[in-house]
């Protein structure tokens, strides 16, 4: 276990502290594009095989009976400094992979929900999911060429967001947009954290 998260500058040169951020949203909304725009490495892909829980050690037959499918996740990495690394995971686009979402969301700092104003309903499941899990998130509106422009407040109202959930307009292809939405998320996490500690006067240094 990481024993001292608040002091990750490991004087012993141990392996880095990793922070996980999820990039969610409907299929084709630009999750991998966003990851690629800010990642220091070309987005990588990892796969998980989902099989029914019936794999036996001695099971030489029956493979043909088994339901097998793969879930692919694209992810990228941002090295903040030696000993501190940010991982960005695109969530699998289809709802039937909630199983993977739970694993992804566990221990995550927060999430960016990418939205396309032409089909806003595609991001409802993501919004619902993070609200239910109480995981901080921001909405990144990927302003596709030719799509009508909406003000952040309009998007916020259409998604019925809680007050305080930031909505950022941008272009997932552009690095500066990606940076803005990620910074908005980390600031949002920080705000929530400081609000929770609001009564603690020792935190007044912020």
């Amino acid at each position: 276990m990481v024993s001292k998260v608040s002091n990750p500058s490991d004087p012993h040169g141990g392996p880095p502290l990793a922070i996980k951020i999820l990039i969610a949203g409907g299929f084709g909304v630009g999750k991998t594009t966003l990851v690629g725009a800010v990642s220091e490495i070309r987005p990588l892909r990892t796969e998980e095989m989902l099989t029914q829980e019936s794999v036996g050690v001695d099971d030489m037959v029956g493979v043909e009976q088994k339901t097998t499918t793969t879930v692919a996740m694209d992810f990228g990495r941002i090295t903040i400094r030696d000993g501190l690394v940010l991982y960005l995971f695109g969530t699998p686009g289809q709802d039937r992979f909630w199983y993977m979402w739970d694993e992804l969301a566990t221990g995550a700092l927060g999430a960016v929900v990418l939205a396309d104003t032409r089909r806003l309903d595609a991001c409802f499941p993501s919004v619902d999911y993070f609200e239910r899990r109480n995981l901080p998130f921001v909405i990144g509106v990927n302003c596709f060429d030719g799509a009508d422009r909406y003000a952040p407040e309009e998007v916020s109202a259409a998604l019925d967001l809680d007050a305080g959930v930031p909505v950022i307009l941008g272009d997932a292809r552009k690095k500066e947009s990606g940076k803005r939405v990620l910074i908005a998320l980390v600031e949002h996490v920080l705000d929530s954290m400081l609000r929770q500690r609001g009564t603690d006067l020792s935190m007044a240094t912020y």
């Binding site: 608040s6 990892t46 499918t69 940010l86 400081l194």
Partner: protein, 124 residues
């Protein structure tokens, strides 16, 4: 695969199933649960200690000379996460790797780290 064809095994199914041969049919490791962003580093194992390993174990040791997350290892050695986790368990049993687990859910990064992250992203 399309959204509705998961019930069928087609020509793609072979490679999907076969990787678990590398784990001798095991889909879970008895001991360890490797998070996606747990950071793995190989230890300085002698060739002797590595003698009994399979090529996939070797491949993992090769890429973890530089500490890497479980997700990256899966991507670099081109094996599904579940398979990688079983193989990592083998390596851990033989003390050929070290694992740094991510911060527990209740112990997310503090204010100072988050500000560092914001500055770091700003500087990209």
């Amino acid at each position: 695969m399309g959204p509705s064809d998961e019930r069928w095994l087609d020509e793609e199914a072979g490679p999907l199933v076969r990787p678990y041969a590398m784990t001798r049919g095991r889909t879970r490791h008895t001991r360890a649960d490797f998070d996606l962003i747990a950071i793995i580093a190989c230890t300085d194992a002698t060739p002797d200690e590595r003698a009994a390993l399979g090529p996939e174990h070797e491949a993992i040791l090769e890429v973890t000379r530089q500490p890497l997350s479980v997700a990256e290892i899966s991507s670099y050695v081109d094996l599904p996460l579940g398979v990688v986790r079983v193989l990592l368990g083998d390596l851990l049993d033989q003390e050929l790797i070290t694992v740094r687990k991510p911060a527990p859910v209740t112990d997310l990064p503090g204010e100072r780290v988050l500000k560092e992250v914001i500055d770091g992203i700003q500087g990209l």
